[in-house]
């Protein structure tokens, strides 16, 4: 089925992107060790070793998908989506309870189905959107089916309950819809409905509302609701400009919860200072640039939308994590891609990077000029862009 292609040309790949990812992964290993070596008295390398295993496990899909023509994935988008939905439903019924949520399938391992779900959604939505072509501007064929599709997936993730992941899924999907050529007015109306739904969901769960009120004034109740964010911010303050030095974080020893996953960026800020944290921001900004550049140069609309989705996923997740740690947005349990400790998240993001590299590998070499954009015709009925249908499978 997946015959190995004898003459894969990797020369066109975006090696800048690969370099950015490798830098983030190395930084991640360093920080995972620094934040976990004191967890177990007899084995300081326990968590580092596991992270390395996951990294090796993630390199497989990365290398495989890089070499593979990304159009192959498209063939499986429907089965992948169906399997993911099934998985989400199964977890809802039997999943173990941990950290007040059902996100974690296995308590001992760290497989979060919602991490896999995000990649599946991107693959499926890219397929769906690019197959619509001009129809995407039609309310009955574009917006409404799209809204129902995203609504169902998001609803399943929300029921886990995993509010932050469902918000990220919505963000990714809307950006992909936008790039695929959505009518702006429709998009605006859709977002308004989405906002109303969001407000209803927030009011229903009191702990979400309390996170938001905590966010408004994170230090109003430092020993209660603002405890975690207070410790996190204290870590950043301790770090200062140049940091306390690698391994010298005080906050990780003072009960900052989850220093190796959700809060790893705070410890990075404490140990490596503003210099280190800005470097991470810079790396993610560069990643966003390279990813969207790949989308721009993609050889077909499917590649373009897929690359946008993947880039958007990684960037949004980084923004939500950093935003939470800096008390810019409410703190949520979103890991920092490539840096945080975690199995399924690492493997799925690395797989996604493999797809991105694959898209870049087959991108158009010449600089884009007006004529090169023949594939993106302007529809005569609408004065907006559209993506023409490629070969229907």
């Amino acid at each position: 089925m997946l015959r190995r292609q004898p003459n894969v040309n990797l020369g066109n790949s975006d090696y800048w992107l690969l370099g950015i990812i490798i830098s983030l992964l190395c930084l991640g290993l360093l920080m995972v060790y620094s934040t976990t070596y004191f967890f177990l008295d007899d084995d300081p390398f326990y968590f580092l070793a596991r992270q390395i295993v996951w990294l090796v496990l993630g390199s497989g899909p990365l290398l495989l998908l890089w070499r593979l023509d990304y159009h192959y994935i498209r063939r499986f988008s429907v089965p992948i989506m169906a399997a993911t939905m099934l998985l989400l439903i199964v977890i809802l019924l039997v999943g173990g309870e941990l950290h007040g949520g059902q996100r974690w399938l296995l308590q001992s391992g760290s497989i979060q189905p919602s991490e896999i779900a995000k990649l599946a959604v991107i693959i499926y939505v890219a397929d769906w959107l690019s197959s619509k072509g001009e129809q995407i501007k039609d309310v009955t064929l574009g917006l409404i089916p799209f809204a129902i599709l995203i609504g169902v997936i998001t609803g399943l993730i929300l029921l886990q309950p995993d509010f932050s992941t469902s918000m990220i899924v919505v963000g990714i999907a809307v950006t992909m819809f936008f790039i695929a050529g959505a009518e702006l007015l429709q998009l605006g109306i859709g977002l308004m409905f989405g906002g109303a739904t969001l407000a209803i969901i927030l009011i229903q769960a009191p702990y979400r509302l309390s996170r938001i009120t905590t966010f408004m004034d994170p230090l109003a109740d430092p020993s209660g609701k603002g405890y975690q964010i207070g410790l996190t911010l204290q870590a950043l303050v301790n770090g200062g400009f140049a940091g306390r030095g690698l391994g010298n974080s005080v906050q990780k020893l003072m009960g900052l919860p989850l220093p190796h996953t959700d809060s790893i960026f705070a410890i990075l800020g404490e140990e490596l200072g503003l210099l280190g944290s800005l470097m991470v921001i810079g790396l993610f900004a560069a990643l966003a640039y390279r990813g969207l550049r790949i989308a721009l140069k993609a050889s077909d609309p499917y590649g373009a939308v897929l690359a946008t989705g993947i880039t958007c996923w990684i960037t949004l997740q980084a923004l939500v994590n950093v935003g939470g740690v800096t008390a810019t947005i409410p703190f949520t349990g979103i890991p920092l891609p490539f840096v945080s400790y975690g199995g399924s998240a690492l493997v799925s993001t690395m797989a996604a990077v493999g797809i991105l590299l694959s898209i870049s590998r087959t991108s158009r070499v010449s600089a884009p000029t007006g004529k090169d954009y023949a594939s993106f015709n302007i529809g005569w009925r609408y004065r907006g862009p559209r993506l023409p249908r490629l070969i229907r499978r």
Partner: protein, 567 residues
């Protein structure tokens, strides 16, 4: 087609913008000098402590009586993951006097740390502790020893001590000034491997501080001062007792004063009370400064003890006419008589002979216009305009010579006179006798700032000041002891000139005159009687008499006879 490119660029710009916001937020928390956490480090202070209790240093008087100590109270925290919200709320509600439903709502959110109550007394803490041990549903409750500051002597020396706020930080007074030493430190957690060779560090108690204050003398001083102020219907006042040979402050009392444990109420109603008037409130010292002027005159040689001048009753300089306090002329007057009668014209003449440069050299040498450097918070410099100051006036030389047109703190004034009592050596006044950190004792040694005048001058001046008490201010005399002293009656400057109704009466005296052991200053603000010798001098006499007795300093004849016999 162009729009597709633009849409991608729009998304990229959005990402960059958000990245920039994140960078700005990071800069705010990590390097902005003024962010919320840097302004209020106490907010997250608990994040840096472990459970071992640690005690703030105790403040003792010079004989080891505690003046400020930490006593035990308890904080109650909860790890809500390990308790049953309903059972815990029902149990705690009557003990903490909080509503059970509120407690339950709070406890229902799972989190590793929740502060439930502060400052619980031992009886409540014992009940909780017993219940937690027997009931598994309450397992997540944790009691933590939380020291609270307590002043066994109540309001005694309150103004000197200052207070410790709810977060364990010293505010005002010694608690604030010596906060770094007094403050205890939480240990770092043990049993943890660190790349940094930081090992387990036990909690560290603060350094104990022994003051030079004597609890008994402080009590005498406060009582006499308060009685004097009340009986003269005065507004307030200050009294200081020092050892002129060491610069040790034995007592420092001010009225109105406060009880440190009532700090919360005072902070709301009258936060001005927290200031220590002895070092923070300036006044025109008045005639007491004549001691300095005469000392300078003798030291420079422009006068001798036998000098006389012709007191004409008035002196006019650049439009300002200076008169004696009694508005009379006294004819040919000797220096001792000038001091006894406290004639302004005498010092005006001395200042005139000396000139600006010499006079102000001595004023600065005696410590005016600069902080004394005592270990107390909020000390001010006073006001002394030197030649060259933009608002310096020719007449300042003459008014300053009898203590007008300048301002000083009570401590500056007593310290300047103490230099005369101490053979002409100006000392740095100090209030800390010893720092005791475990077995390490660091004693504070007397610090000589400078030799201000020669010993010959001191001898002559000493006799003149004894003459003041013996001949003029007889209300300050103590039978059996030779007391040297000088009064001051200061007018109170207002925006429109001197206040016609009120004065500040003050008196500085030291004894025994041949071998000064104690120097006392009393200053009474706005009493019913206008002169220092009527209000402050009797107060000084009572304090002096009781202190001499308490310290066992024998009357002059016995002491001198004993000295003679020893020789």
């Amino acid at each position: 087609m162009v729009a597709y490119r633009y849409r991608l660029m729009f998304v990229l710009i959005c990402f960059f913008l958000l990245a920039f916001i994140m960078a700005a937020r990071l800069a705010y928390w990590q390097v902005w000098p003024d962010n919320i956490l840097r302004q209020r480090p106490d907010l997250m202070a608990h994040g840096a402590t472990n459970d071992a209790p640690h005690w703030r240093g105790t403040i003792f008087d010079r004989n080891g009586y505690p003046l400020a100590v930490d006593v035990t109270e308890y904080d109650l925290d909860a790890d809500t993951r390990y308790l049953d919200p309903k059972a815990t709320a029902t149990f705690l509600s009557p003990l903490l006097k909080m509503s059970a439903t509120d407690l339950e709502t709070n406890l229902s959110i799972k989190r590793p740390y929740l502060r439930l109550a502060r400052s619980l007394q031992a009886d409540v803490a014992q009940k909780i502790s017993a219940a937690v041990q027997s009931d598994i549903l309450l397992r997540g409750l944790h009691l933590k020893v939380a020291p609270r500051r307590y002043n066994p002597a109540g309001s005694l020396a309150g103004t000197i001590l200052g207070y410790v706020n709810a977060d364990g930080k010293g505010v005002y007074g010694l608690e604030s000034m010596l906060d770094d030493r007094l403050r205890s430190q939480a240990g770092s957690l043990g049993g943890i491997k660190l790349i940094d060779p930081l090992q387990f560090v036990p909690a560290r108690n603060g350094t104990d501080i022994y003051l030079t204050i004597d609890r008994v003398i402080q009590d005498i001083t406060e009582q006499v001062l308060f009685e004097t102020i009340i009986s003269h219907k005065a507004e307030g006042g200050t009294a200081i007792v020092m050892n002129p040979k060491t610069g040790e402050i034995l007592a420092m009392a001010s009225y109105p004063s406060y009880t440190p444990s009532n700090f919360a109420e005072i902070a709301q109603k009258n936060p001005d009370l927290f200031q220590n008037p002895a070092i923070s409130k300036i006044y025109e010292p008045g005639s007491v400064v004549k001691v300095v002027t005469v000392a300078a005159g003798l030291d420079t040689g422009v006068i001798t003890p036998q000098s006389t001048y012709n007191d004409t009753g008035s002196f006019t300089i650049s439009g300002l006419t200076i008169e004696n306090w009694d508005r009379m002329s006294h004819g040919i007057t000797s220096i001792p008589v000038m001091l006894q009668k406290s004639l302004n014209l005498g010092t005006v003449h001395i200042a005139d002979y000396m000139g600006q440069a010499k006079f102000y050299k001595y004023m600065v040498d005696f410590g005016f216009g600069q902080p004394t450097g005592v270990e107390l918070q909020g000390e001010v410099s006073g006001i002394l305009r030197l030649p060259g100051h933009p608002r310096f006036n020719q007449a300042d030389l003459y008014t300053n010579s009898f203590g007008q047109g300048m301002a000083a703190t009570p401590l500056q004034v007593i310290n300047a006179v103490a230099a005369v009592a101490n053979g002409g050596k100006l000392l740095r006044p100090h209030i800390v006798k010893e720092y005791r950190d475990g077995n390490t004792i660091v004693a504070v040694q007397p610090t000589i700032v400078r030799q201000v005048v020669g010993s010959r001058v001191v001898h002559d001046l000493n006799e003149m000041l004894v003459g003041v008490v013996e001949n003029e201010v007889t209300g300050a005399a103590i039978p059996g002891y030779r007391v040297a002293g000088k009064t001051g009656t200061s007018e109170i400057p207002t925006a429109t000139g001197y206040d016609p109704r009120w004065t500040i009466g003050s008196f500085v005296a030291y004894a025994p005159a041949d071998d000064p052991q104690i120097i006392i200053l009393a200053k009474i603000d706005k009493p019913q009687l206008p002169l220092g010798e009527q209000t402050a001098a009797p107060a000084v006499r009572v304090i002096m008499k009781q202190t001499l007795g308490y310290l066992g300093i024998a009357p002059d004849n016995i002491r001198l006879a004993a000295n003679q016999a020893n020789r």
